[in-house]
Amino acid sequence: MPSYQAPLRDMRFVLYELHQGAGLSALPGLEDFTPDIIDPVLDEAAKVCEEVLAPLNRTGDEEGCHLENGVVRTPSGFKQAYDLFRDGGWTGLASDPAYGGQGLPKSVNALVEEMICASNLSFGMYPGLSHGAYLALHAHGSDELRDRFLPKIVDGTWAGTMCLTEPHCGTDLGLCRTRAVPQGDGSYRITGTKIFISAGDHDLTENIIHLVLARLPDAPKGIKGISLFVVPKIAVRDDGSLGDPNGVTCGSIEHKMGIKGSATCVLNFDDAVGWLVGEAHKGMRAMFTMMNTERLAVGIQGLGLAEASYQGAVAYARERLQGRSLSGVKHPDKSADPIIVHPDIRRMLLTMRATTEGCRALGGWVARSLDIQHHGEDEAARQEAEDLVVLLTPVVKALFTDLGFEAANLGMQVYGGHGYIRENGMEQYVRDARIAQIYEGTNGIQALDLIGRKLPAHAGRYLRRFFHPVADLIAAKVEDEQLGAFVQPLAKAFVRLQQATGQIARVGLSKPEEAAAAAADYLRLLGLVAVGYMWVRMVEVALPKVGTDADSDGFYRAKLGTARFYMERVLPQSGALFSAIMAGGASMMDFEEAAF
């Protein structure tokens, strides 16, 4: 069974060396977050994840959750782990200090999230969903609601959920049927059934605060008639103490492919008392304001699992002896060479590594932009940062989870037959990673968001925040003696991306379906170029260090090696994607429906 070790060296590289994390404390509101504060947080997080959460990952998967007498029981050890987690202050790490949180910058919190997801994604779902509920309530709730619910969500006494999906509506939430009836005293009675509610019920906390989408009696039809309500599982009295159960029951839990330690519930709301969050009929808008943060978090789940799988695969490839190197025996003392000598094993390992490190760097850029968006002093800089976040959010969500799943699959492949055996832990990463491509907006929806909303917005202004830095780097460094070799493949892929972007923008206006047919390939193309850009920037940082004392552990040398692999063996996929995009969608849309 693989043992997870938080990749702190690479995380610090991304945070400090690539994205100037030491400068975070220059932003208003983040003054406290100097490296001497951040570093211990990362070290401590690594310890909790490695020592407390990772050991429960396999057992939690085997045992799963159980619904007993209407109450969900989480796997053995989860409750104790949660108590430790809560007592360590981890539930409020990224929350507002005004409600007891620690206000950690997103740049740092994203790294902690990665560690949690890598060590035990199922466990991470519980505090993760609480944080989602926190965000929505914090952004849109009245002062009264915030005072009542937030402190205990932040300190982990209570958990939270997001209740969106219903049996007949997932992607199309406009079809939502759950009803909310005003009681005349400012409260509402909520009735309806919600499904696929992650962390919908569990035994980790004394109460669960549900955020529920429902429809008021006078609501317009469709998506513009949805409102957001906060509904506690157990009534909360005015003095903050708990009252009676509030008509929220768990009807059943789903039997899933992965994340089995996370309870996925059917929740029945039966005249449950709730309060309106934000304006009536503006529930979707309230949801969207937190969506960027949430989608980035789901992308990071893919990244974390890719890292965990990579670590397991490398360890195995070093010790597993099979066959001999094709270029001659490498370990004559052993009965066979370790499989790490074989090109195909190296292809898999480097693919995992190049995408994982590349995504970590890209995620770091987006996280840093979120910090600037929220804390930047200069309005133009804040706007630019927000533009970049808005553009890259669907890319991060879909690309990271797709690549994460592919990486987990490669990691299992490295194990050969043993990867297929549960006890070895590698197939669990594949199963756990799979859901991230689906929830929080399927990756197909992310691609449509990218081409349909993000691309045309403000005549392409969001694109500028990404395309201009890339174009400027290429223009400045394409002839560079050392960097040039890395920049040239990027330049080639970038031209393809520019042409594909122009093409989609052109056809998108008159034939939206044609643009939609290219969406998934386009998102991958943009994502690969973005990761390629990150690799060139990483090489730029690493190059001067190679061969110096700072590189005694070979970290920077390995960066160059991984970068080279990415540029030569991964980024050329842009050519195939480009051809597919330019071929148009007729081959799909002309196909007779009856012939499927």
Partner: protein
């Protein structure tokens, strides 16, 4: 011109003064008289004040300063003698029969034989106006009903009496058409004639039904506006514009004149809300506000609207109607929608179209006149019968019956036929005799839309087309959205130049969009800039330069024929034509600096060349350069074709056509005239001032900056323009070639488009239509 060499207008109110201004715009001297203002310093103070007001009004009633000088003012007591040599005397005094008749008697005493007298009345029947007056007067009398403002509204209703001489009608109609640019229709002598008869019914119906269906004004205007092809002011915004207090007057006079069985009576009822608003001074934009107002209470600026439900003002809100969202511009689906908004649309439009159908032949000879009246008198995109054709007469009849409304005979007559059809390449309308008749255009009117009915384009792509318009002349038409110029336009223009050289004698550049072209497709340009596609942008600039140059030096004459906006690249193409025949309402300008760019399709080059022509300005390179800098750096737009001549966007020799419908025919005639003996122009080298000139222009810009008139980015843009106009370090003793100027234009354009401030300006124009002053 057209037999009318001098005109008099009596009554210097808004309408009379506006009519006088438009006569002057046509280059015809005009006398403007009003009553004597007792106690004033001047006995003609009213008429004089009216001209002063005209000069200040916006939009401007005069097309040029020269036109204003053609108006002579006076009063009806001392100056009636001035009428003696007038060919046409227009009466536009207060709507009182006794006043008008008294005036007519005075006029009759002084006017010359054969002159025509007309009234601009909108409410008094012609028969009443002439009753009791001598037959000699009646023979020369008609009604000429203009619309407000007379310069811009293209409709003129000419009503003849039983005694009116046909030649009198012909004389006035010809003049109104060719000189004043009006489209003349000839209603019968019925109350409100055609446009206001239907317009008043429509407004009344739209107000009543909105209240009865429980709609708010924003909702009603959203339903009435865009879906029906009606200006977005809808109905309540329109009432605010014309004045709430005017409505009851017009309504009362119509009610008094129309027989009791007229459907207007059925929708005539007291309007307590409107009465209260008028009493409180909420008479519309001229008063404290109307259905919409800007609430400045507490120093704020809040857009408010009055609620038809509560009768109170509240913040304006965007109409959010299910019926509009789901039917998405499908008019028929909107009318069939069960929501109150759909019901409203059906009730209002159904009754209005039925009323229109009842006006033929009662007030109008044919359906075409009714449609023209509403298109040009109320700015509807489609006339009522065009709307009926969209819905289908049987569909409308069925829905009227279902609403318990009478079905007019004309609808029954039409059956399942359309009111308009194309037959053998000709446009025809359905007559009251049940047969189709050709739609006959006045002589000298040539419309591309008509020509297209019987031919295919010679060349065509997604952004432009080349047409054979007969007699060896080709017409290049922009067909892109908003006539924005893009790579496809340039590609087809390049191809057209080769084709015309082989197959035609001359080329006209013309289209029938509401604007000739507002310039390059900025959406494409900014998108390309946002994705850093610099090479693509530079290629687009270079392609435009090469194509326009090829156009200028083509072996055949090219005549540009613009109407509406001709800005940026749309102006630059005109600058490269051999001659321009412009519609009087053409608004030309090089506005690139406004979006943080410089003209780079040869605009700088051509303007330099025009202003440097010998004898135009004092000697030396600087005067011409300074003049161009002043015009271009401030993105000045000429407010008429006449003004465009003053700014040299048009040459003094270029022609102006007053009537939009006659533009193509005039341009074609001009092209044929040039083709008789054509040699392409020779390239002209320019003498440019170089560095010192550049410094001079920059200092001027910095002066504006210090005074707070120019922004920081204006300085950057002005610097780039100065670089181009000064010849980028040119040696003042060495002539600069056209190619060299083009190269600097291109380089400076490429430099500017990389500025975030430029991109922010373009984004603002595209998203809000408003310039960003950054």
């Amino acid at each position: 011109m057209s037999g009318i060499g001098k005109v008099a207008v009596i009554g210097a109110g808004v309408m009379g003064a506006g009519i006088a201004a438009q006569v002057a715009n046509a280059g015809v001297p005009v006398v403007l008289l009003d009553i004597v203002k007792e106690g004033a310093a001047s006995r003609s103070a009213i008429a004089e004040g009216a001209v002063a007001a005209l000069l200040k009004a916006d939009p401007a009633p005069f097309m040029s300063r020269a036109a204003a000088k053609l108006v002579a003012t006076g009063n009806i007591e001392d100056d009636l003698g001035l009428l003696a040599d007038c060919d046409w005397i227009v009466e536009a005094v207060v709507e009182r029969l006794d006043v008008k008749q008294a005036l007519y008697r005075k006029i009759e005493g002084v006017r010359k034989a054969g002159s025509v007298v007309s009234s601009n009345t909108s409410t008094i029947p012609l028969a009443s106006l002439i009753s009791g007056l001598p037959e000699t007067f009646a023979r020369d009398f008609c009604i000429t009903h203009f619309f407000n403002p007379p310069r811009y509204m293209r409709l003129l209703e000419v009503v003849k009496g039983e005694l009116t001489r046909p030649e009198a009608i012909a004389l006035v109609s010809r003049f109104a058409d060719a000189a004043l640019g009006k489209s003349v229709i000839t209603p019968k002598d019925r109350p409100g004639f055609i446009a206001n008869r239907l317009g008043v019914f429509w407004i009344q119906c739209a107000v009543i039904e909105a209240i009865e269906q429980g709609l708010e004004v924003e909702e009603a205007d959203a339903v009435i506006g865009k879906p029906m092809g009606i200006p977005k002011t809808g109905v309540f915004g329109l009432i605010d514009l014309v004045g709430l207090d005017l409505m009851p007057h017009v309504m009362d006079s119509m009610i008094g004149l129309l027989p009791p069985e007229d459907p207007l009576h059925a929708i005539h009822r007291p309007q307590p809300l409107i009465e209260r608003m008028i009493a409180d001074g909420y008479t519309g934009r001229k008063g404290k506000g109307g259905f919409y107002r800007l609430n400045r209470a507490g120093g704020g600026k809040v857009k408010e609207a009055i609620s038809l439900v509560t009768g109170e003002y509240r913040p304006q809100r965007k109409a959010d109607l299910e019926a509009l969202a789901t039917t998405r511009g499908d008019l028929k689906a909107l009318l069939a929608h069960p929501d109150p908004a759909g019901r409203y649309a059906l009730r209002v439009l159904g009754q209005t179209l039925a009323y229109a159908a009842a006006l033929v032949p009662e007030a109008a000879d044919d359906v075409a006149a009714v449609d023209e009246a509403m298109r040009l008198g109320y700015n509807w995109k489609w006339g009522p019968f065009e709307l009926i054709d969209q819905l289908g007469a049987p569909w409308l009849a069925e829905h009227l019956a279902a609403e318990g409304l009478p079905v007019p005979p004309l609808l029954t007559l039409a059956g399942d036929r359309k009111f308009y059809r194309i037959e053998a390449g000709r446009r025809q309308y359905l007559g009251t005799d049940g047969a189709y008749h050709d739609l006959v255009r006045p002589e000298g009117v040539l419309l591309l839309a008509d020509l297209k009915l019987d031919r295919q384009p010679v060349l065509k792509n997604g952004s432009a087309a080349l047409w054979d318009i007969g007699d060896g002349v080709a017409c290049f038409e922009f067909t892109s959205k908003m006539n924005a110029l893009d790579p496809d336009t340039m590609a087809l223009l390049g191809k057209s130049i080769k084709t015309v050289a082989k197959q035609f004698k001359a080329l006209v550049i013309y289209n029938e969009g509401s604007n000739f072209s507002a310039g390059a497709n900025l959406g494409l340009a900014i998108f390309a800039a946002n994705i850093a596609a610099w090479t693509e942008i530079e290629q687009l600039v270079a392609a435009g330069q090469e194509t326009y140059r090829a156009l200028k030096y083509a072996p055949f004459p090219v005549v540009g024929a613009p109407s509406g906006l001709a800005l940026g690249g749309g102006c630059e193409i005109l600058l490269h034509c051999d001659a321009v025949q412009a519609h009087a309402e053409t608004y030309v300008g090089l506005v690139e600096c406004g979006v943080g760019l410089v003209p780079a399709w040869g605009g700088c080059k051509e303007m330099l060349s025009r202003w440097s022509a010998p004898g135009r300005l004092p000697k030396g390179p600087m005067p011409a350069v300074a003049k161009v800098f002043e015009t271009v750096s401030t993105a000045t737009v000429a407010k008429s074709a006449a003004e465009a001549k003053e700014l040299l966007f048009l040459r003094p020799s270029d022609g102006i056509t007053m009537n939009r419908y006659r533009l193509l025919a005039d341009a074609k005639a001009k092209a044929l005239e040039l083709a008789r003996d054509y040699t392409p122009p020779e390239p002209v080298d320019l003498t440019l001032p170089g560095e010192s000139g550049k410094v001079g222009m920059q200092m001027a810009a910095e002066g504006f900056h210090r005074r707070g008139i120019a922004t920081t980015h204006d300085l950057v843009v002005a610097g780039a323009l100065a670089t181009v106009l000064s010849g980028n370090g040119a040696d003042v003793t060495k002539p600069v070639t056209e190619e060299e100027v083009l190269e600097v234009e291109r380089a400076q354009f490429m430099r500017l488009i990389r500025y975030p401030a430029t991109l922010a300006r373009i984004e603002s124009i595209l998203e809000t239509g408003k310039p960003l002053r950054n």
